[in-house]
Amino acid sequence: MCAAMTMFDKIWDMHVVGEREDGEQLMYVDYNVVSEGPFYAFNGLRQEGRGVRHPDKTLAMADHYAPTTGRDRGIDSVADPEARVMIEQLAVNTAWAGITRHYGLTHPQQGIMHVVPAELGMPQPGMIITGADSHTSTNGAFGACGFGLGASQVKHVLATQTIWLRKPKPMRVWVDGTLGGGVSAKDVILAIIARIGVGGGVGFALEYAGSAIRGLSMEGRMTLCNMSIEAGARMGMVAPDGKTFEHLRGRELAPQADEWAQAEKFWRSLLTDEGAQFPREARLQGDAIEPMATWGTSLDEAGPVGGRIPDPGSFADPGRRGRAEKALAYMGLTPGMPIADIQVDRVFIGSCTNARLEDLRAAAKVARGRKARVPAMVVPGSMTVKRRAEEEGLHEVFLRAGFEWRDPGCSMCVSANGDRLAPGERSASTSNRNFEGRQGRGSRTHIVSPAMAAAAAVSGRLADVRDFL
């Protein structure tokens, strides 16, 4: 029993409650996060006469339907009656279930379901964290297995604190070297996806390793793990280290002083052992990564900002070729065009991928002293981020540059609350998905980092952020 193990195997194995003959395992869940979406789960439990096993192990956030203006008017700021029902329903459902950690629309810590938990110190090394949304993988930044579930599975977690799953295989993604100026965690993950493909991680749990990853802040690691799902993996993790522990110390849901030493010892025992085998590995050179932008409607349709849109005819795989042709027609772009020449109509800085303080600082650094040429909005990931940013005066930088400064929510990431693009409109967006219609019917999305988004705002095109630093 002393074979070298990966961090993923260690975490997984200690959560196995039982097993079926087909190999699916019943996994114990440390924490679960919901937003307004899985109302089906609560309705189902009620109808079936079932309760919630550990109400204090679920956190609930109003985010997808939260309007990003007029927060001082509370629920009256929600113009759409259906959206209002979604937000009110979450309050009713959590009260019914006894879930007291409900961060509703007017809560001082309200925010996006993948931003707020880390502020509370919830995600900790070694945990299994589920959520009613695929970007629950964000929590992997803390050395946890975080993954999303559909509404029926969320119902299962609420009722039993467990979930049936088939164990994925571990895959390690190395990013060595150091990142250049103007290159962020967002560019790293876009480069990884461009390398391994949108299906490259299917069936795997990723562990990001290497000096460029160690060099990332906790916020950067969250951006990276957030988009593991866009590489086809359900979860992605970074091993805990001093930065992780520093982040956790003193937070509301972190171990308190008397338990800290025991917790830290446990966390340190989780690291991947020397010599552990990964069935698949990929390796990138951090120094070679440039600021990136997507040009198509799939996350692997991306390239360095200094490059050109490829000719789909040059793709060997006919499936990929057809997809790229269709994507370019939808995006209204032509092969061979320099990516930096793509003109945008709007800029969105926000979402669970890139709306933390560090992201806003990076965008503000570019916006400072310049003027937006196209409408641009900044939507902080949480009330806490918003307050901190205002303490630093970032909102003034944005407002002076002509950007809008909004209230927290998912906003234009998912066009759920009125923040959306008009048909045919083109955005530079710090969110995570460039799918057809994601930001509104007929919307065209270019996924970029916060600094790149700010550069797009002040230049009206997908400019190279390095020219602005």
Partner: protein
């Protein structure tokens, strides 16, 4: 949950790789109660034009495919957002099975939770079936879950693999929670050992 045993039905081709759930159901419909009926939301933005009229050239609008109950998809079907609404929409429009070379994990599991059978066959076989149903629209495909086989319109039979317990669950229309609650004693025992190891995580109910 409605049991799934066997099905012979018209199959509709939607044979594209990496079809994401935003395409299957745009997010704005996920706020609708199930009682609203999800059938109309399926592939909404491709199926209907901006005025809400059906696009006659969209595959599911073409008469031979209107009664389809099987969808033939491409690899990595159902990727992107974990939204279960994608499966509600398929199911509410009458689809009981999807045949594809592979699925995003979420999508496959959401199918299982709702009694929709996600059949996996080799890419070449799926391509052949897609070709056949495109060449003669309205032709049928037969799925036999107990025998784990698909009969293509050309009469060829193809075996597919499925986890035995998932198969059992689909055949009997069983709900996952009921099965798990039979293991409550094991969950209790797990918790008491687990929280000795990580006492700082102990839930309120287990603190004395």
């Amino acid at each position: 949950m409605e049991p799934f045993v066997s099905l012979t039905a018209v199959a509709a081709p939607y044979y594209f790789a990496d079809v994401d759930t935003d395409r299957i159901i745009p997010h704005r419909f996920l706020r609708k109660p199930l009682s609203a009926g999800y059938r109309n939301f399926l592939f909404h933005d491709e199926r209907l034009d901006a005025e809400g009229r059906e696009r006659p050239d969209f595959v599911l609008n073409r008469p031979p495919y209107r009664s389809a109950r099987i969808l033939v998809g491409g690899r990595n079907f159902g990727c992107g957002s974990a939204r279960e609404g994608a499966v509600y929409a398929l199911q509410d429009r009458g689809f009981r099975a999807v045949i594809a070379p592979g699925y995003a994990d979420f999508f496959r599991e959401n199918c299982m939770q709702n009694g929709v059978l996600p059949v996996v066959l080799d890419e070449s076989i799926v391509a052949a079936i897609a070709g056949q149903i495109q060449a003669s629209p309205g032709s049928t495909v037969a799925i036999d879950l107990p025998g784990q086989a698909v009969r293509a319109p050309d009469g060829t039979r193809h075996r597919f693999e499925i986890d035995p317990s998932r198969k059992e669950q689909l055949l009997r229309g069983l709900d996952d929670i009921g099965l798990t609650l039979q293991r409550t004693a094991a969950i209790d025992a797990f918790e008491s050992a687990y929280y000795r190891r990580v006492p700082w995580l102990r839930p309120v109910a287990l603190r004395q």
